[in-house]
């Protein structure tokens, strides 16, 4: 019965994607399709981290975006004086460090607290991170150089695809696949899933739930950091809280859309949300919406998913 439901989810997903692509091509919104896929991949990255933490501990990590912002801030600070490659590594290292610190200081003490308490706590972490960035830096956007400078590797449907964008997409696809394999096939991955559902049994089997927790957060922080360093140089530069302000809600919507327990879902959800947003911004029918139509449309998508099909496209029901 569950396999039927799984199949149903996959069929619906395929249908939605096909429909979306056809509609976009028909209405001449080709650029939106391409741009959407690219920004969507950034959302997908963050969504992966969100789903990872949610899958393993039921926590919604509000600070997921900040792992990325901190990473890109570090990249910004370093990349003028240090070769880009090292700056990247440094940035990712700082992100991972932040993940571990948050896990130790915030997540561990609240291990048994209701999940919503943890949401509030991670929101606090995010705010603190943003506040410190504003305090020590300025509240303006500063450009960050790209990893790969070629701007127009080729053109798809009228949109220039830079190497950076390719990198982003490629990294995302690889990571989504890796994580799916990790959770389904490796012992460590299975242990993480098991520990979220049955912590006592996991401990009894000699696996330290605490150490697993640290690993998960470090991994999520790494994903967040990657999202930051790969996507931000392409999208206008670093500003305090940039990933939280601009990316977190779409990433969350992506995760929900894909199904909070599905990693490939997070990837797909990201792409779909990206496309929806791109369309909202450029399509003429949405011109009259005051302010930013993308925000409104993403909100609507979120509501529709949560009300009509809460398990998302590929998630498990209930």
């Amino acid at each position: 019965m569950d396999r039927l439901r799984e199949r149903q989810g996959q069929v619906i997903t395929a249908a939605v994607i096909t429909l979306l692509v056809l509609v976009l091509l028909a209405t001449g919104e080709k650029e939106s399709l391409v741009i959407g896929v690219i920004t969507g991949s950034a959302y997908g990255f963050l969504a992966l981290g969100l789903v990872l933490i949610y899958k393993s501990s039921g926590v919604f990590n509000f600070a997921q975006g900040e792992f990325g912002t901190v990473a890109v801030y570090t990249l910004y600070l370093l990349h003028f004086d240090v070769p880009y490659g090292f700056a990247l590594l440094g940035a990712l290292g700082v992100a991972v460090l932040m993940g571990v610190v948050v896990e130790r200081l915030v997540v561990r003490p609240l291990f048994d607290a209701p999940r919503v308490t943890l949401l509030v706590a991670t929101a606090g972490v995010a705010l603190l991170s943003i506040a410190v960035q504003i305090w020590f830096g300025e509240a303006t956007a500063r450009p960050v150089g790209r990893a790969l400078p070629t701007l127009d590797r080729f053109t798809v449907l009228g949109v220039q695809i830079s190497d950076q964008r390719l990198l982003l997409l490629g990294a995302l696809a690889i990571l989504a696949g890796l994580l799916a394999w990790f959770f389904n096939k490796t012992n460590l991955g299975l242990a993480i899933l098991g520990s979220s559902q049955e912590p006592t049994a996991t401990e009894l089997m000699g696996i330290s739930v605490k150490r697993l927790s640290t690993i998960v957060w470090a991994l999520a922080a790494l994903l967040g950091g990657l999202a930051g360093v790969l996507a931000v140089p392409e999208t206008g530069g670093f500003a305090p809280g940039v990933l939280t302000v601009a990316f977190l809600i779409p990433a969350f919507t992506a995760a929900v859309l894909g199904g909070m327990t599905s990693l490939p879902g997070a990837f797909l959800g990201g792409v779909i949300v990206g496309v929806v947003e791109a369309v909202a911004t450029s399509a003429p029918i949405f011109e009259d919406i005051p302010g930013s139509p993308g925000t409104l449309l993403v909100f609507v998508v979120l509501l529709i998913v949560l009300v009509a099909r809460p398990q998302g496209l590929l998630g498990k029901a209930g």
Partner: protein, 374 residues
């Protein structure tokens, strides 16, 4: 004869007792005198101390009082029901713009503006709650967050409502033009909100909310329509928030879209949690504190200097101070003293309301925000 410690039911959480539920304890005459003196001191601080202060300072005090109202509004949702709103600044902001719009564009009186703001606040909650209260916990929090974002990026960009770049003017009401009088007006509103909140929790709806929060199945067996009651609480929360918004608007005499950012939403949540969920006194104190941080930092520059002593740190402006201190206090509260300020002052509050002073009376052991299956 040993007197049993006071009942620790919902009364314990909200600092009051079901009538007749307490083994009798009567303070001695000296006890009454001591309590009276402390009450008088509090009254002096709130009522007399602000007399004759400058406008700017009074505006900050008014703001502190209004934040108290907003904190109480969020407390209804967060403390009594156990759901989070991460978009509460939208409710407050929309209330602010509503009142400003009614007074400036429609030329109606302040009182109509306030009433409209309250109604709009409640209505928003009704609509949003109607759609999304089926969604619980985590997801509901994110829906409210997204809603806050929509408010910021879409609703507050509507020119007719927000008066363009300069914001919408919102003059003070007739008879209360002086900041001093307005401060008293705000105090009156705070008193009204406190009264309504108190009565709500003391009667059937309050009991139903507490039952619902702890055990929704038992609540329905008691005949409570769980969904409707949750929606009701959300509407009350929205109405209080709308009131807060209207009062804020006329305090600043101008409302602009930039104020209502996501950071504010978090400040609201933080001040309520740090204040102490389900503790009215705690929430009011916590909210007032957060409203006044910036002002206090300006006035008492020793605090500023202390913070600037951190090596390499640039100057800490009041706005940033709030953003930095807030999360730190939040995290400390959540991990160390989940009951917040309310938990700490509980013995004092109990004492002041005529009970025995008991240092160990900290109300229920843990403040649960919500038992969630997201």
């Amino acid at each position: 004869m040993a007197v049993e410690t006071a009942s620790r039911g919902p009364a314990a959480e909200t600092g009051e007792t079901v009538e007749g539920g307490e083994p009798s304890f009567r303070p001695s005459p000296i006890g009454w005198l001591a309590r009276g003196i402390v009450w008088a001191a509090i009254a002096w601080l709130v009522l007399i101390f602000p007399l004759g202060r400058e406008a700017f300072e009074l505006q900050r005090y008014s703001e502190a009082v209004i934040f108290g109202i907003i904190g109480l509004s969020l407390n209804v949702l967060l403390g009594y029901v156990g759901q989070i709103s991460l978009g509460h600044q939208a409710f407050v902001g929309i209330g602010a713009f509503t009142s400003a719009y009614i007074v400036t564009e429609q030329n109606l009186s302040f009182w109509v503006g306030v009433a409209a703001a309250v109604a709009v606040g409640g209505l928003q909650a009704l609509v949003l709650g109607g759609v999304s209260l089926r969604i619980t916990g985590l997801y509901f929090a994110m829906v409210t967050l997204a809603y806050g974002l929509v408010a910021e990026k879409n609703i507050f960009q509507i020119q007719e409502l927000t008066g363009g770049g300069l914001g919408q003017p919102a003059p003070k009401p007739k008879g209360f033009e002086s900041d001093f009088r307005y401060y008293y007006l705000c105090l009156v509103f705070l008193a009204i909100v406190l009264w309504v909140d108190w009565r709500m929790m003391r009667t059937k709806s309050g009991r139903a909310l507490l039952a619902l929060r702890e055990n929704p199945r038992v609540a329905s067996t008691f005949g409570v329509n769980v969904r409707l009651l949750t929606l009701f609480a959300f509407v009350v929360s929205g109405a209080f928030a709308g009131l807060g918004g209207a009062l804020l608007a006329h305090n600043d005499t101008r409302v602009s879209p930039e104020t209502w950012s996501f950071n504010l939403a978090l400040i609201f949540v933080i001040m309520t949690v740090v204040g102490g969920l389900r503790s009215r006194a705690g929430v009011v104190i916590g909210s007032a504190f957060f409203a006044l941080i910036g002002y206090l930092l300006d006035k008492f520059t020793i605090l500023q200097d202390g913070l600037n002593a951190i090596p390499g740190a640039p100057d800490l402006s009041p706005e940033i101070a709030r953003l930095v201190i807030g999360p730190v206090l939040l995290l400390l509260t959540l991990t160390l003293t989940p009951g917040g300020i309310g938990q700490q002052i509980r013995p004092i509050v109990r004492w002041l309301t005529g009970h025995r002073f008991d240092l160990k009376d900290r109300g229920l052991k843990e403040v649960q925000i919500s038992d969630v299956r997201a």
